[in-house]
Symmetry: C2
């Protein structure tokens, strides 16, 4: 009886302490919650396969892997796991790279050629009469990835009996692009400010740097560009390189390489030269010396990301040279050290009013085959700029002799900042699964990206980061899923976004099926919702200008025509949409004939892309029999209704989620609902001036006048 009392006392204390307010702690842990499993049967099932940990390596990466394994197993299974160096017990998880495995174990594992340098194998083997789970790879970082994969199995309540998992990342460069400025503002950042505290670096290592690396490693991200593509040359001075070095040292054991943006005019600004002409020997030399200086500090420095001759950034064209000249000059500087140049194709001329969507293709495709081996051209997913929906960029597949990497935007510049719940892997998947037909049916964008189409060695996916110093990293709890999903798709561009949503929800919130099913469905639906209430049927870039917050289809007063929303929607008495078919700018001709054919005619063009490619009469009959005007209005209403539905789903989830995060999402969905209505009302009132038609039945009456919506100003909208 005495023991029972004590037991109850301890238990009650234990439960109490856990029910107290956790002060935003859960948000911070991302998808690495490692919640204790409450299903005793499940726990005993796991424990019947895992009783101990053996870590064979001593490298820093090995220690990270074994500590993570210990942390995850202990937290989830509620049992102490010691990390041992020797295999003596049954049912241990043995972790170590190939070189550390005994010949006997190696034999059990089989052929290591099944995986690449970063891949891993997780296999249950029978060794000296004992069942063991081995997590291995060619390198320690592969082991680390394997450990996260193994833990994810338990996080998501998967079976771990008789494992035989062989997996490798399908791209080489899986990288975040931070558009972070040296003053810690973040261009298009909606989660606070930059993580990089340049003032306190190099001597102060913020715990967040470590936690950032850990989160990235857990999803296979292996690179980070620390600075904004609208670059500042100061990052390349020794005052800053010392700080970059400190970050590189933190990230290295997590398998993450540091990259920087190179301002093309740096030789002038910090080098004291009179020119930055890439054909000038002094300039080329300056960059070579700069590279040497950087690699002396950071031997595994990744390389440079460059935005040149785009939106006012300097570049080779300032000197009558072209992108190839600029990229190859930089490529030569980093080549001796194994560095790469990621050269952005996001260019559009201020002197060509014809069609912005055509310009990157027109300019870059002629360069195919001319770049050095260590140059990869970074192309945005669509030809305009990270819209809620864009057809895939015609450059994909059109440069068979040039490595192209994808640039996705994880931060929601055009998709509701960090207040709208939009599950982006659904968008990413749509792009990656698009068929370019460049080498016949089935040559998807994913196959361009992973190099399987073009046999390029250099492959990669970049994501413009949505990470800031908010307590929860991403501003919106569900925006964490976009970071997570980006990493998973960078690892495997053919992964299904539904699988990603399921995984993320289980790791982040709960394994309860009653929670998972509706909430996963809500996530998947969320992408179409934002398209519907912002830019349905192929509309694009009608956001208010500058900050891109809220609707601004009426804006027409900016100096460059292609900065104005009216340029993109072209609404008039006759109809709405941008004619990119043969009767218009003929941008469709940039796609393979099979694709061009589909996009070019009204009849075959998917309705989701209709107004992207065609100027369509208000009375045009959509497939569902509605006129275009009515269909457009109903799409806006549908978007609003979808958000309402998301609210209903979430409100039923309270019991599966901690109170803090539940309330956060609830408040944010309320804002999203308000803003969805704002978008609907402002856009329909504006377009109604041209259509001259009434709103159809089923569309709610606007609550404010068009004048009101046009009067709204947001001088301090973030990220601008």
């Amino acid at each position: 009886m005495r023991y029972q009392k004590k037991y109850l006392f301890i238990l009650s204390v234990f439960l109490l302490l856990f029910s107290f307010k956790t002060m935003a702690q859960k948000d911070y842990k991302l998808w690495l919650q490692y919640d204790k499993k409450t299903d005793a049967e499940l726990v005993s099932k796991y424990l019947s396969n895992v009783q101990g940990i053996v870590s064979l390596g001593n490298a820093e990466t090995s220690k990270i892997a074994s500590n993570e394994l210990q942390l995850g197993l202990q937290n989830m299974l509620g049992k102490k796991f010691e990390i041992k160096a020797k295999i003596d017990l049954d049912k241990t998880v043995i972790i170590g790279s190939k070189a550390l495995l005994s010949a006997e174990i190696q034999k059990e594992i089989g052929n290591f050629d099944q995986i690449n340098e970063e891949g891993f194998i997780i296999k249950t083997i029978f060794l000296k009469g004992k069942n063991q789970i081995v997590i291995t790879g060619k390198k320690e970082v592969g082991v680390l990835y394997g450990v996260y994969n193994f833990l994810r199995l338990i996080q998501t309540n998967k079976n771990i009996k008789n494992l035989n998992i062989v997996d490798s990342p399908k791209t080489n460069i899986r990288i975040l692009n931070h558009w972070d400025n040296l003053d810690r503002t973040v261009e298009r950042g909606y989660a606070g400010f930059s993580l990089w505290n340049w003032q306190k670096l190099p001597d102060f290592i913020d715990q967040r740097y470590i936690d950032y690396a850990r989160a990235n490693a857990s999803i296979g991200i292996n690179g980070t560009v620390l600075t904004n593509v609208n670059a500042n040359a100061l990052i390349l001075t020794s005052q800053y390189l010392e700080k970059v070095e400190a970050l590189a040292n933190v990230f290295r054991p997590y398998g993450i390489k540091v990259y920087l943006t190179a301002r093309f005019s740096a030789p002038i600004e910090i080098g004291g030269l009179k020119t930055a002409d890439p054909k000038d020997a002094d300039v080329a030399n300056w960059w070579k010396n700069k590279a040497k200086e950087i690699y002396k500090r950071i031997p595994d420095f990744g390389g440079f990301l460059v935005k040149a001759n785009s939106e006012g950034q300097p570049g080779p064209q300032n000197y009558g040279r072209d992108h190839v000249d600029g990229a190859n000059m930089l490529a030569d500087a980093v080549a001796p050290f194994g560095g790469v140049i990621m050269w952005r194709a996001f260019v559009y001329s201020e002197h060509d009013a014809n069609d912005r969507a055509k310009q990157a293709y027109a300019e870059f495709v002629t360069y195919d085959g001319k770049f050095k081996d260590n140059v990869i051209v970074q192309v945005k997913n669509g030809a305009i700029d990270f819209q809620p929906r864009e057809p895939f960029h015609p450059m994909f597949g059109a440069m068979p002799k040039t490595p192209l990497m994808m640039e996705f935007q994880i931060t929601q510049e055009y998709l509701g900042f960090s207040t709208h719940l939009v599950f982006l892997p659904k968008l990413f998947q749509e792009v990656l699964a698009s068929d370019t037909y460049q080498k016949g049916k089935g040559t998807t964008v994913a196959k361009v990206i992973d190099g399987s189409l073009t046999k390029t060695k250099l492959t990669g996916i970049a994501g413009v980061s949505n990470i800031g110093n908010d307590l929860n990293w991403t501003g919106h709890p569900f925006a964490q899923a976009n970071w997570y999903g980006f990493g998973r798709l960078a690892w495997n561009p053919e992964l299904d976004s539904e699988v990603i949503a399921d995984e993320w929800l289980r790791c982040t919130f709960s394994n309860d099926e009653n929670f998972i099913k509706p909430v996963a469905a809500m996530m998947i639906e969320s992408r179409e919702a934002v398209v519907n209430y912002m830019t349905p049927l192929g509309l694009h870039h009608i956001m208010d200008t500058g900050h891109h917050y809220g609707p601004g289809p009426w804006v027409s007063n900016l100096s460059r025509p292609e900065w104005n929303p009216v340029y993109y929607h072209k609404a008039d008495k006759n109809g709405i949409g941008f004619d990119r078919s043969k009767t218009g700018t003929n941008a469709t001709a940039q796609y393979a004939p099979e694709v061009a054919k589909i996009f070019s005619t009204l009849e075959t063009c998917p309705e989701k892309d209709l107004l992207w490619f065609h100027h369509v009469s208000w009375d045009y009959k959509l497939k569902n029999g509605q006129t275009l005007w009515n269909g457009l209005a109903l799409k806006y209403q549908e978007g609003v209704n979808q958000v309402k539905n998301m609210q209903d789903v979430w409100n039923k989830s309270a019991k599966y989620v901690d109170e803090d995060r539940f309330k956060e999402v609830q408040m944010l969905l309320e804002i999203q609902y308000k803003e969805a209505k704002w978008w609907r009302d402002a856009c329909l009132l504006y377009f109604q001036q041209y259509s001259g038609k009434e709103l159809p039945a089923g569309v709610e009456k606007p609550t404010q006048t068009l004048d009101y919506f046009q009067s709204l100003k947001f001088p301090f909208a973030p990220g601008n």
Copy 2:
């Protein structure tokens, strides 16, 4: 046996889960850690006095108080405490305001006239044969303050038997000044960016707003100015007032009123008027209507803080009016609603090169008695600008018919940003304890501030906040102590800073005497250390200009003379220092004769203020027999040595502190040590040009040249 095993299992799980990485959680909790007490005897002693909680009130503030009491007791004593509404058990803590207490309890409590509207009484009473602890006040907010005080007794291992504590705040307005801009940058902010996420307000209530209010309430802070004194009129538009209202709603139950900064030219900028002349009827009316609009939203709105005709801010002088005209016009606008105007006296003219230190006094003292009743003049602690050491501002005591409130700077603009450990309550105490002699000996600054000298009803202390969105709120773990200490001194301006250090350490880290003693001593020493390595012997304002980061005694090229460090130190071949005696600017005459006499002569002037008041020959003999040059050099060295000593103390504290915070402080002290040497070397090399003398024995040789130090540039230093 079966129970024992289970008991051990549960216990081991419990311990395990607590030993896992807490991911920066402890930092976030500030001084409200409520760590579980491990001394069983102590716990049982507390439990012999406290067994339950009875909360008599139902107001939101009452709920906050009872939840806090429950949280604190449960966490610290490891026992479940239910909150009951009825007194039935022995040894309960009964909380409720006077009106809620039974006549019987009221009688036991005694005279409520002992406390003011925000005060509290904590008393152990004997009621119906039972011992009870009653926490009460005239209002619920007093009860809340009492609860925090009671919890602090347990946090700091104090006795709670036979309590009889009667306490009231000695000032009315205990307020933080946030110099936060609408774009979330913080002027002089070194802990990240503004907490106020204007973009997501009013609909998204960040948990931090609540935790901020809670932390402030726990130390008695009852007001917050949300916006920068360099103000933006937009905060007064309905678009922003809606957001301010949401914050006010969060803060209200914690006893915290919201205030805003009023940009004097707002009637022009957002009101469409042609003038902001305070004597113009339309202008006065505009402000009256604006006040009405604000109070409709926020009935307990505190009022306005105004920086006028200072450093480029607009003000009444733009229209040929004076500060009284400006302040009184605004005072009339808020008076009907009980609002106050805090009018800053931080003014110095660009047209008067004589002595900046004299100007605020010269301008304001003539206004004595002319301000409306609801105006309080906010005066910085010294006559220049928040230096490591300044003599108290001569305005204190010099305006007997005008309420004056203190403005301290908690953020370390001139004291090492958030990288230097400097315990500011020591500085604050030095100012508050300074004797103004304005009504004879003993009329300290504290007595001016708390109204006991002048019998003014309106009293207050403002602190320029050091809070930002860093995970740990203040950038440096020990900077939390400055926020804490500010609050405690605002409550009681005569509190000893050693008591504050002791309290804060116990609440924040550990009650272990082996930790407390050396670390408290280190904190107390830290203020003199920063004076020594930055500005010893009365030197001031020789920081690099603009950002104020690091030494810049050589700067002499700024447009206004008093913005240049050379203006302040006046080093030349003959000596160094600013002659403010009769032979100089005669600023000493602004003090009461008793004080002036002390400061005016070299012999009586305290050496800590020597170069503030006198231009002193390099060969002048200090009291310790050293020449001024040698003494100055040795003071710089002493500062460096003191930081080294702080490092030694901290390095011995590892076992009392969690690993994260231990390492953080360790890294920061290393930076502080580096920078202390930088200050010493740069200043001594620079001054040596004038003294022409060698460094004395005991002073380390500089590691770099003066040229090197002068070449350092920090274009992105924070807070600028």
